[in-house]
Amino acid sequence: MIDLVNRPLVRLLMVGLPALALQTTLLSELTPFGIVIQMMLCMSIGAGVAAGPEGGALAGFVLGLMFDFVLTSPLGLSALVYGLCGFAGGFAFSTSLANPRWLNAVTCAGLSATAMFVQPVAANWIGVEGWISARLVKVMIVVAIFNGIASYVVVPTMRWCLAVRRLQRLAPPSEVFL
């Protein structure tokens, strides 16, 4: 049983499902400046920061797919964007030797804003029109700020989720020695 719980995918679902429930209930009502905070996106980027590009991409894909299931937008759109964000989060992490929390916050904020821009653009490509508007700038700013702040909690949580060991985390990435 303990082995099962220790598997990253199981842990991801154990954390992802309540997080999705929070997103659809509490966070959809608590809307600062009329904008819905995107917790699932923050977790995807946090997974990348915590576990590297592959882990981030996989976690982002799973979390995005879960979010897609409860949305009316095309299935796979959030999975694609969140997966890419997870990968980008991991990419940003692996290129830095130190991993200070403020850098995690900046990474989360920057990638959140990018994702909020990429998502309507991708939606437009597949025929969902109307998502690109002046409001998008406000959405990008608010989501970036809140996800940057949330990263202080989300990154350690995702580290536990993806079973990233302490030594592995503290060791510099292998490509440094290449």
Binding site: L17, P18, L20, A21, L22, Q23, T24, T25, L26, L27, S28, E29, L30, T31, G34, I35, V36, Q38, P53, E54, A57, L58, F61, G64, L65, M66, F67, F69, V70, L71, T72, S73, P74, L75, G76, L77, A79, L80, G83, L84, F87, F91, S94, T95, M116, Q119, P120, A123, I126, G127, V128, G130, W131, S133, A134, R135, V139, V143, E175, L178
Partner: protein, 363 residues
């Protein structure tokens, strides 16, 4: 592992391709996607409900902090409006009843014939791009995808996802929402002109006839009603070559007595178009308006109601809003009308789902 390793590229490419495959399947309306959504909803719903119960105090506290001042002023404003409208409501009830009787007599469907299910809004959209709400009734109560959702003020949206005991409603402000509507120009001055001569050869009814009763007219002649006028008899004149139909109300015995004439050109005229949402920050619009010489120019303040019809998802006559701005466009594209919705979509609580399906979908 190097940043650009083969395995890393493969993993990311595989996930991206899987996402694109899912998007393609969903866009094609594959049944598997719908079943997957239903399955996930079945598993997720208990977790969501439990979270909703646990987080409700926090939501209430947040609303209390952020909306208290607004609620207080709104409460005062609504009290004033309630007082104003109480009298008008009683008068309107009588007119609505008359209108429903007339629609029934003419075999035209009206909203009173459509059964409905009352539902409570239990959740808002978790996305910044889709304008949806979740309601607490589903297929167990007969709800189907596409059914119109209204509240006391007017049209709210349509059902887009149905589960056993909950549904997702796309709001009229969503960019994906579109429905055929009618624009009803209001009468500026409902004129009843009084003339002293009548030259028409007319069918004269009894002087005791009440004008609010349905008028019988000769085949081919225009059928008009004059509610609220009950003096004298009712005369229906033949159509003139310029098709100006006139109902004359005058004492049947005297050709020189004053006659009240109602020109039906002054009655509200309608025009059809397509209503489309444009997101939460922009007013929805009506476009592709049919040109009609009799209709003339659309005026600010004109009423927008659903047009109904065999393929429309909503029955005829649901109030959508009022025209607040007319944007003229060059060429044949016609004007675009910006509409202020009568239903306040930001504060929805109870809504009514009309169990109506258009004829073409096999009611």
């Amino acid at each position: 592992m190097p940043i650009y390793s083969v395995s890393r590229r493969r993993a990311v490419s595989l996930l991206a391709l899987t996402s694109i495959l899912l998007i393609t399947l969903d866009q094609q309306g594959n049944g598997l996607v719908g079943r997957a959504r239903d399955g996930f909803g079945f598993v997720f719903h208990p977790v969501e409900e439990a979270t909703r119960v646990v987080t409700r105090p926090i939501q209430n506290a947040w609303r209390g902090v952020t909306n208290y001042g607004e609620l207080e002023s709104e409460n005062e404003r609504l009290r004033d409006r309630l007082d104003q409208q109480e009298g008008a409501f009683i008068a309107a009830l009588a007119i609505v009843r008359d209108a429903q009787e007339l629609l029934a007599l003419n075999g035209i469907d009206n909203l009173a014939d459509v059964s409905s299910v009352t539902a409570q809004v239990i959740g808002a959209s978790p996305s910044n791009f889709s304008q949806t709400v979740e309601i607490n009734q589903g297929s167990d109560r007969g709800l189907r995808v596409g059914m119109a959702v209204v509240n006391a003020a007017g049209l709210v949206g349509k059902v887009t996802q149905v589960f056993a005991n909950r549904s997702v409603v796309m709001l009229t402000s969503d960019v994906q929402y579109a429905i055929p509507v009618q624009i009803v120009n209001q009468i500026e001055n409902p004129e009843t002109t009084t003339t002293s001569t009548t030259t028409t050869t007319s069918t004269t009814l009894s002087p005791t006839t009440n004008a609010s009763a349905p008028a019988e007219s000769a085949p081919g002649s225009p059928s008009t009603t004059t509610p609220g006028v009950d003096q004298g008899g009712l005369e229906v004149g033949p159509p003139t070559p310029t098709s100006v139909a006139v109902s004359t109300i005058a004492p049947a015995t005297s050709a020189e007595a004053p006659t009240t004439t109602i020109d039906i050109n002054n009655l509200p005229s309608v025009e059809t178009g397509i209503f489309r949402g444009r997101g939460p920050d922009k007013a929805p619009v009506v476009e592709f308006i049919d040109q009609n010489a009799r209709f003339g120019e659309v005026r600010v303040g004109a009423l927008v109601v659903t047009s109904g019809g065999s393929s429309s998802l909503a029955p005829r006559g649901i109030v959508v809003g009022r025209v607040i701005k007319i944007v003229e466009r060059t060429g044949t594209s016609g004007a675009v009308l910006e509409v202020r919705l009568t239903a306040r979509l930001s504060t929805l609580n109870f809504v009514r789902v009309l169990l109506y399906q258009p004829v073409v979908s096999g009611r």
